[in-house]
């Protein structure tokens, strides 16, 4: 029982566990010897990089059954036509260049010649057509299908090959955010797959992509192993986001599934782990200054906020929401909760964004006296407000605790209601809350951030901001391609947000990564999780 069930494995190997300290050196040597005995092994021990996932990946099928971990792992294996650059703009990846028709509805991509898939098959336009059609098939259940069908950004009406290395994609209307959507991590980067990734009946087998690593083994709830792809064709030039310089610097990358934060920390200290990304700020204290460990961080494009239900009898009064906003010292809150690794924010545009200008960065100053005056004006007499939060995400929970204490100073009475994440998510989706602390994962563009906030509450109760002006501005930001004019739209949106205070933005967290000091070449990035190409272990 269990042979081959539950995991997809090339061949179980003896080197699957790393145990280095002295008493087990003999065992390790044995294991290595076994590995070396295989005919393909080189004369030197294969290099291994061990990284942590806080939960197993959901599938190996990019952009379908997915979560952040799944995206991060699979973006090492598959590549799309275009990808995100370091500065979150869009750059070429499998396509060397592209043109957009004057009407903005047709994109023509030229593929880079000489690229091969992990199974040795060359990349041609037929593979692109096949992959995109598979994504656009509702049966695939692609995460981004709704964005690229009717009612979304734009509908893809045709994907056509013109010769072996040319592909065109037609849309039903112009959509400046089309390429950004293709490059999104949660869309699996719209990774181009070889047909052998599915079986003759169309059922998923394993990803055969063009990335710097190939998918070698997946042992459920234990590890995922990626091996260097020797025939990988890196796009020339220096490393730049997901687009270029993606060369594997180790033979094997192993993502270990370690749900418990303390255990992961211990593993790093013990040297059983090389990269510990997405570190919870509370773990920082125990790692800072420890020998053999280095901390690296980058601001994140995510968004933590105190969501308010503007349909609540009490919270519908903008004066009350304003009072709430100025009763919070978000700078102190951010410092305490993120251990100095996050940045306080006052509007939906995240601080690392290129659109984070003078308007967006102006802080909201706490003013307890003014808050009390506003509260009196709207007749608040200390009624309890339920503040929903959860313990799965410590930043949300800690925010609730600090908000409760800070708001109490102004006379606002929050009652914290700690739910489990599934329940909170269900309440969020139904708009069934008075207030909740909530985090939005990183979006590649402020329009996408605003899009998750603005909308018709009657149709989509998740939306927190429902005014005609906001909706108009959002549509304009989506249709606008010129950065200067987009900046003006975002400025207007930000001002309107402050005026109306539909919710209170708290901060953008930091993406903290702890590394063994033997690791080199790791670069933190606001846009996404750990990237392990170009990372070496000495």
């Amino acid at each position: 029982m269990g042979k081959g069930r539950g995991y997809w494995v090339a061949k179980p190997s003896l080197t699957t566990v790393a145990l280095d300290p002295s008493p087990f050196r003999a065992g390790l040597a044995l294991a290595l010897a076994a590995a070396l005995a295989t005919p393909s092994a080189a004369a030197v021990a294969p290099s291994l990089l061990r990284a942590r996932l806080n939960a197993d990946i959901l599938s190996s099928d990019p952009g379908t059954r997915r979560d952040e971990n799944t995206d991060a792992v699979l973006l090492h294996v598959v590549e799309g036509l275009v990808a995100v650059r370091e500065d979150t703009s869009i750059g070429p990846l499998l396509a060397s260049r592209w043109t957009v028709a004057p009407d903005g509805k047709t994109y023509v991509f030229q593929l880079r010649p000489g690229i091969v898939f992990h199974n040795g098959a060359p990349l041609t336009s037929a593979d692109v057509v096949w992959s995109l059609n598979r994504y656009l098939d509702p049966k695939t259940r692609w995460r981004c299908l709704s964005d690229l069908s009717k009612g979304g950004l734009a509908e893809v009406t045709a994907v056509t090959a013109h010769g072996p290395l040319t592909v065109s994609i037609s849309l039903d209307r112009p959509a400046p955010l089309f390429l950004k959507t293709l490059a999104r991590a949660d869309c699996g980067g719209t990774g181009i797959l070889q047909r052998a990734s599915v079986d003759p009946h169309g059922a998923w087998v394993a990803p055969i992509g063009t990335g710097p690593f190939r998918f070698a083994a997946w042992k459920r709830n234990q590890y995922i192993e990626l091996r260097r792809f020797d025939r990988y064709q890196a796009r020339p030039g220096p490393p730049d986001g997901n687009t270029g310089g993606k060369t594997a610097a180790v033979d094997t990358v192993r993502f270990l599934v370690i749900p418990d934060g303390s255990a992961a920390r211990a593993a790093l200290l013990r040297g059983e782990l090389d990269v510990l990304d997405n570190l919870n700020p509370v773990e920082l204290a125990a790692l800072r200054g420890k020998s053999g460990v280095r901390i690296q961080s980058a601001p994140s494009d995510d968004l933590y906020a105190l969501l308010l239900q503007t349909r609540d009898p009490l919270l519908r009064d903008p004066r009350f929401r304003r009072a709430l906003a100025i009763s919070l010292d978000t700078a102190a809150l951010t410092r305490a909760i993120t251990r100095g690794e996050g940045r306080p924010d006052s509007g939906p545009v995240p601080s690392p964004s290129p659109f984070y200008g003078p308007v967006e960065s102006a802080p909201i100053r706490p003013d307890l006296a003014q808050a009390r005056r506003l509260l009196t004006a709207c007749g608040y007499r200390g009624q309890a407000i339920k503040l929903a939060t959860n313990q799965r995400y410590p930043l949300m929970f800690d925010s609730a605790v600090v908000i409760q204490a800070m708001a109490k100073q102004a006379g606002i009475n929050f009652e914290i209601e700690t739910l489990d994440w599934a329940t909170q998510l269900a309440r969020y989706a139904a708009g069934d809350y008075q207030a909740m602390t909530f985090g939005y994962s990183a979006r590649l563009d402020p329009s996408l951030t605003f899009a998750s906030l603005i909308g018709d509450k009657a149709k989509d109760p998740r939306k927190v901001w429902d005014t005609p002006a906001a909706r108009r501005l959002l549509d304009r930001s989506m249709a606008e391609a010129d950065p200067v004019r987009r900046q003006a739209v975002f400025d207007d949106l930000t001002r309107a947000w402050r005026q109306d205070t539909p919710s209170v933005v708290l901060f953008n967290s930091g993406r903290i990564t702890a590394l063994r000091s033997t690791v080199s070449g790791y670069r933190s990035w606001p846009a996404q999780q750990q990237r392990l190409w170009g990372v070496a272990v000495n």
Binding site: A285, A286, A336, Q391, V402, Q404, A405, M406, D420
Partner: protein
């Protein structure tokens, strides 16, 4: 009768706990939810006897309020579970026949769920709230009590004095109340003291898994669970709740032992 050291130490510990709970009702050194973001993780000092937590909240104040919540959750759970379990167990064990079979079938069905998971599922239904936890843990532990009581009753009813009581024409209810119940009490009391401990520990385990009495309510379990990331850097965070749990359970268990010795019917004429 002479006072056993068990009773003395147990009584002192439980008395101290009750005193702390009573004091916590009217006074704590600090507001247990007030934060002090400039002094997080302050080590124990004259200002903060047990130190301060990651939000600068006073650990002693929180442990005092926590005593009330943790102890009352455990006490209510134990009282209801023991009461209900004893009634069901006595009925089943004494009546035997089909009522026994029916009750035991339901009991076995309930017991078939590991208590922690049953509690977890019930909490997920009810939402995590103080009363939800009490109900969930009660439901989770009633079957164990029932089973132990029934086992004891089965064993007791084979003894000679039960037969004698029956032969002398006592009603079954009288036999049960006069002879079976007192004889079944010692194991139930040992179980009750053990149960109190299990409930306090279950509460901390649920907190550890993130579904205990909803924080920021300062139960001991919550405090212990929240102190985990700071085990190496701020060990004092776990000392206060840890001590509270250990001292309380030690006290209750010792009192239970003393009570058991005292109630043991074989020592009475």
């Amino acid at each position: 009768m002479r006072l056993r050291p068990n009773a003395l130490i147990g009584g002192l510990l439980v008395g101290a706990l009750l005193a702390v709970i009573a004091l916590g009702l009217v006074w704590t050194p600090y507001d247990p939810i007030a934060i002090d973001l400039d002094h997080p993780l302050a080590p124990p000092s004259w200002r903060h006897w047990f130190g301060a937590d990651e939000f600068g909240r006073d650990v002693l104040s929180r442990a005092m309020v926590g005593a009330r919540i943790s102890a009352s959750v455990a006490a209510e759970t134990v009282a209801v579970a023991i009461g209900a379990g004893t009634v069901i167990g006595l009925t089943a064990g004494f009546l035997r026949g089909w009522p026994d079979r029916a009750l035991m079938m339901l009991n076995d069905a309930m017991l078939a769920f590991p208590s922690l998971l049953l509690a977890l599922a019930v909490i997920a239904v009810l939402g995590a709230s103080r009363n939800g936890i009490v109900l969930a843990l009660t439901l989770a532990y009633i079957p164990s009590v029932t089973r132990v009581v029934r086992g004891a009753v089965l064993s007791i009813r084979e003894r000679e004095f039960i037969e004698a009581s029956k032969v002398s024409g006592d009603s079954p209810l009288y036999t049960m109340a006069r002879h079976v119940l007192p004889n079944a009490l010692p194991p139930v009391l040992v179980l009750a003291t053990g149960l109190f401990g299990w409930v306090v520990l279950s509460e901390s385990a649920l907190s550890f898994l993130g579904v205990g009495v909803p924080p920021p309510a300062p139960t001991w379990g919550n405090m212990l669970a929240a102190s985990r990331p700071y085990m190496e850097t701020a060990a004092w965070l776990s000392i206060a709740p840890g001590l509270c749990i250990a001292a309380t359970l030690l006290g209750v268990n010792m009192l239970g032992d003393a009570l058991r010795d005292w109630l043991d019917p074989r020592d009475a004429p």
